[in-house]
Amino acid sequence: MKQKKKTSGGLLRSREFSLLIVLIVLCALIQLRNPQFLTANVINSIFKNYAYTMVLAFGMLLVLLIGGIDISVGATLAFCGMAGSLLMKNGVLPNCFTVYLFTTVMGFCCGTLIGLVIAKGKVIPIIATLGFMYIYRGLTYVISDSTWVGIAYMLTDFKDFAQNSLLGVNHLVCITVVVFLIFFFFLKWTTFGRQIYAVGSNAEAAEISGIKIAKIKILVYAICGAIAGLCGAMYTGYYATAQNDMAVGAEMDVIAACVIGGVSLTGGQGSAVGVLMGAITIAIIGKSLSMVGIGAFWQQALKGAIILLAVVVNVLVQRGMDRRSLEGREI
């Protein structure tokens, strides 16, 4: 048993390693085509642009780990971001910190509602979040009366926060790093983190061993919501506007980032490091295609092709590894 655990740990590590190699090759290819790519300026802008995708991916990781899915993150982001911006416009939220706090708490509430419907109402996650995607996106339009909050109404310190940096690193990137570290430690070394894995790999066994599945589920969706809320503030701060259709389809990028990062959609498999690398891959693909001279209209097709290729290669690598580990055990 102990032996088996060790090999599966090794597998996981080598899987992230193989992703790292793919990432390095990708960067090298782009660098060959365009020497401007690996400069501090470009890298900084990649991370800044995609900070919210990366942060969202960690929330999605939790949901995927328990075998669920949340396709309402984009809508939650828009709803919370819009609500925060409107309150800022009306002077209810006096400074940058309160905006971030408000959107996060609001996202937590939105997520809790989703969690309750899934855990207590026994609605399949994709249906529940599909419904809430409609609801939250609709509510975004309703609360804003289909208008948008322009740059003039944003607080100066809120706008500046998203542009300024700490020790040369943009604040949004700092948030990404902090969230990553929290998730990394939390998933690896806390009881709650391990319980999430337990629920994802075998819910029945987890329940028998005394884990309150409903509680875990609600909390996981709530955290995912809180993350989406936080991203709402990051998004509106970065673009200095709050629009009704912001982050439409963000969930697709986020799920793709998780899957490329080795998270299984059936639950119980995946790590924060993998997701970070998956998200970086998505960010690089999204940002660099124009840098290697691919026209704007081809970018989406190529992005789809690359995602498809990445998951297929992942499967082939996994098959190879499984075969090798079977040979190792002389079966």
Binding site: K122, G131, W298, Q299, G304, I307
Partner: protein, 336 residues
């Protein structure tokens, strides 16, 4: 009927009133009635047959897709690329027409492309069975829509409605009944019969309920999945033809969100996304519930965003409602 062992096997389903009333489809029919009553009370013009059919045809264009989507969900799979497939097929229809001026050829190309799109999904999913259908079709969704973006850029391709008989596909009627409605009924009957009355249909249920068991009992699971995904492509092609005949112009953002609408219709119709559960008549009723609800709310100038909230809430509440009840029933059964 008593067998040798003395057990009784009922080989005929009980058809009690209570069982009929508790069926999902009965609930849906009540909702549909409620929607219709609401619509009639909103606008006395609602029952004008001509107007009603005009509206019905507009949502049937995407209603088609719910049929193969029901099959896919029944198998325990999902297909997010249907909207993009419709878009790509329409794009090819448009550009083929504009370069050859032969609408027949354009329709052929459109169908070939859509079948290829579906078959490609099926091919990837059956070759790499470890891959989750959600992520594969997510990628192909981006890919197909990306292709039409690459082909069209930010322009649109139009002119298809200049061909009278092609425009007539959508506009044409027999009496008050539009052709598209007849096609819909025909497809509904075929899809319904295949799902409930053929070996193919039973095999789909078997796969959805337990894939491993299905494999061991000799069902060709991967072949079946391949057929269903290809069929989905074909129906998307049909939808694309009607879309072009309706709008006469194609941009790269058309048919956006069809996948989620089709899934909503199926789920509201009682098809479980876990696979193996659901009946076809429910899907047909659900298509009309969602379509007519939109129409009715539109009549009283509810804006489209509020309609979206209502449909989202309806979806969740309808799916959740039966789950909140059975606790008491299970307890009663335990006591008995």
């Amino acid at each position: 009927m008593a067998t040798k062992s003395g057990r009784t096997i009922e080989y005929e389903k009980k058809r009690s009133l209570k069982a009929t009333l508790l069926r999902w489809e009965t609930l849906l029919i009540f909702i549909l009635l409620a929607v219709n009553i609401m619509n009639v009370s909103i606008s006395p013009n609602y029952l004008n047959l001509y107007n009603l059919f005009t509206n019905v045809s507009s949502f049937l264009v995407k209603g088609f897709i719910a049929f193969p989507m029901a099959y896919i969900l029944l198998l325990g799979d999902i297909d997010l690329s249907v909207g993009a497939t419709v878009c790509l097929a329409s794009t090819f229809l448009g550009i083929t027409y504009n370069s050859t001026h032969s609408i027949g050829l354009a329709i052929l190309v459109c169908l070939v492309i859509s079948v290829l799109c579906g078959a490609f999904n099926g091919l990837v999913l059956t070759r790499f069975t470890e891959l989750a259908p959600m992520i594969v079709t997510l990628a192909t969704m981006t890919l197909y829509r990306g292709f039409s973006e690459a082909i069209l850029g930010d322009t649109s391709t139009k002119g298809m409605r200049d061909v009278a008989w092609f425009a007539n596909l959508y506009d044409g009627r027999i009496g008050p009944v539009p052709y598209i409605f007849l096609v819909f009924v025909l497809l509904a009957v075929v899809f319904g019969l295949v799902m409930h009355r053929t070996v193919f249909g039973r095999q789909m249920y078997a796969i959805g309920a337990n894939k491993t068991a299905a494999v061991y009992s000799g069902v060709k699971v991967q072949k079946l999945r391949m057929i269903v995904f290809t069929l989905t492509g074909f129906i998307c092609g049909l939808s694309a033809i009607f879309y072009c005949s309706w709008m006469g112009s194609v941009k790269n953002d058309i048919a956006d969100g069809y996948e989620l609408e089709a899934i909503s219709m199926c789920v509201l119709g009682g098809i479980s996304t876990d696979g193996g559960k659901g009946n076809f008549p429910g899907v047909i009723i659900a298509i009309f519930i969602i379509g007519l609800l939109r129409y009715g709310l539109g009549l009283i100038n509810v804006n489209s965003q509020t309609i979206r909230i209502i449909i989202g809430a309806l979806l969740i509440i309808v799916v959740m409602a039966p789950n909140l009840r059975p606790k008491t029933r299970a307890r009663r059964r335990k006591a008995a």
